[in-house]
Symmetry: C2
Subunit: 376 residues, 2 copies
């Protein structure tokens, strides 16, 4: 019988060390490995575990198969005053993403707004990290990326667009707005969670192979058909589909990467995926003074609205993730689930790197949400 055991915390530095070692073991230069590890850590710190260390194994597979090039660095293929096209050269997505947002911010500081689009790229992790990259430079950032088909367009039977996330970051005064959403109603991870809970799905999340709304999570997972934000056509799902196309146009069509049905499934083959991204930076210094004050004011205006349930205050995009970051700081590290520790142990052995160490949680912590099962 599994009983609760003391919480296990992995210091951020140790999680980074482990990921960097794994990536180096499959031939990635240290500089690139640190960028990838920091990208995945950022997701874990923000509580978005599905996009954090959870992805390390997949990244390592891509590198081993040669479907992504761990040593590659992107280059500028075409350049205008406020626009850049970047050839990702099949580098890891986060290397391409960081490079592009940096270029967009530099140009936006000169001209007010700038855009960098990339082709020949790979999965770039959470979009929010690039939003934060822009915020750190005092800019607004808009981020778009295409992904392999999983969203079923309104009225269609089959998936033809990806989860196609869009993100926006904007700086306030000691505060920030970070929106990072898939244009599907939910991500696959949420359906997996309902399966674990053995609960029916709400209507509007997924379809079965006949194109009917499906509430059985097991059937939904097998069919692999997510509905666009909004759900059914009656509930304006065509708007979510439209937003998915908007993302595809900016991230896939402008840079001339693969798009829609042309994008191969991730991990299914050694085929190069040729994903596209789009990064737009806007420097508020080129607009009416006081942007950051207004940003803070708008966020406070929303947070201070009377909530329906006094226990559940109104949150603005980024608030939940910031609370998670705060917990990681207080607890001195990240609380990974046992499943992640098991995967890491296997990776460490396979790659011949030092296993990831952890510490027992400090006595002050009582709100760590992750349940660790007793090791036998």
């Amino acid at each position: 019988m599994a009983t609760a055991s003391p919480k296990v915390i992995t210091p951020v530095e140790e999680a980074r060390r482990f990921m960097v070692d794994c990536l180096k073991a499959v031939g990635m230069p240290e500089g690139n490995a640190v960028i990838i590890a920091d990208n995945l850590l950022e997701a874990d710190k923000r509580g978005l575990f599905s996009h954090g260390m959870n992805r390390l194994e997949r990244y390592i597979n891509d590198l081993k198969q040669g479907s992504a090039d761990g040593s590659a660095t992107p280059v500028v293929a075409q350049e205008s005053t406020s626009a850049v096209v970047v050839d990702g050269r099949n580098a890891m997505g986060s290397i391409v993403g960081t490079f592009c947002m940096d270029l967009a911010v530099k140009k936006a500081k000169e001209t007010g707004i700038a855009i960098a689009v990339a082709f020949n790229s790979n999965h770039f992790g959470i979009s929010g990290i690039y939003a934060k990259q822009a915020i750190k430079q005092g800019c607004l950032g808009l981020i778009f990326t295409n992904t392999s088909p999983i969203m079923v367009p309104t009225r269609a039977k089959q998936p033809a667009l990806g989860t196609n996330p869009l993100a926006m970051g904007a700086p306030g005064n000691g505060d920030e707005f970070v929106l990072d959403i898939a244009t599907t109603a939910v991500a696959i991870g949420k359906i997996e969670y309902y399966k674990r809970k053995n609960e029916k799905l709400p209507e509007g999340w997924a379809l079965n192979e006949e194109g009917e709304v499906e509430t059985d999570p097991e059937i939904a997972l097998k069919s692999g058909r997510l509905m666009p934000l909004g759900g059914t056509e009656l509930n304006s799902g065509y708007k979510g589909f439209g937003l998915g196309m908007l993302v595809e146009i900016l991230s896939g069509l402008l840079p001339g990467s693969n798009y829609g049905l042309l994008i191969p499934k991730w991990g299914a083959s050694t085929e190069i995926r040729n994903l596209g991204h789009c990064f737009i930076a806007i420097d508020p210094m080129h607009f009416v003074p006081g942007f950051q004050d207004r940003m803070t004011d708008l966020m406070e205006m929303m947070r201070n609205l009377e909530p329906i349930d006094p226990e559940r205050p109104v949150l603005v995009p980024g608030d939940v993730e910031r609370e998670n970051e705060e917990r990681v700081r207080k607890e001195g590290g990240i609380c990974y689930i046992q499943n992640q520790h098991d995967t890491n142990a296997k990776l460490a052995q396979e790659l011949g790197v030092q296993p990831m160490g952890s510490i027992a949680a400090r006595p002050l912590i009582d709100d760590c949400k992750c349940k660790e099962k007793k090791k036998k």
Copy 2:
């Protein structure tokens, strides 16, 4: 008893003449009046009647009360290489919008991407018209505007953001993508339509004054509380709320116009509304060649997907509106509902302008959707 009568069609030229005459009668210069009339006509031609001539009476009220200035023209308040801030000088929104998109396109042709934001503006009609303005110049256009509070943020009890629409246009080959959506689940007009049909609302459209999901259209209309795209928090309504904030940030915070709760209700007072807009233009000539081909290919890829119901093919944003435009061309004019003709007759009398003339529909037409009641 009302029985079906022959369909009544108003030639586009006559509808324009009538609107221009009405606007001139309240002191608007002819040049401005033509821009406003064309904006409203564009909505009617695309079948978006709520945003067409239906708005003329409200515009005339604004002008009579002096809450908007029919003679004003906007000016550039601040300018950078790829960014402009426009002072709308309380002009009619469509005058400001047309001016801004024109500036954004001109700059984008030079630099790849450009942004024009406006403060001190008014309601600007359908966003799609500015998307089409960009398309005509071979550019992509992104359009954002704030509006008076009517959307209830997730978990809140009261409205704090407007319907905050976003639009995007992109040129294909003899084809175009025009997305134009409110970030609320639906617009108020749809709830009015359900009231007329005497049908319950689907869950996820509106709230009552207690903040509960409301399915009675009458109560929903009285409460004036729309839910964000997605609906409830469980169905990802927080994404729609986040998109509403994204629109508010770009259109309200960058230009320093009113925002959120600061925006007065439309028509409720003579108070100046000081709305804000944001227009982004992107010139595909600064990116990888062949954008228009890829755009057409992506749209065809979607339209050719196997539909769940063979009678209901997959549509891309803009297809329905283009079909409506086609019908107007075939029928030689616009088929307004009797209610609109009644309002026009009243306006003509009040303003002393020649009433709007109409013609009986040509015999070839049998698919005009609007039902005309027999005049007594």
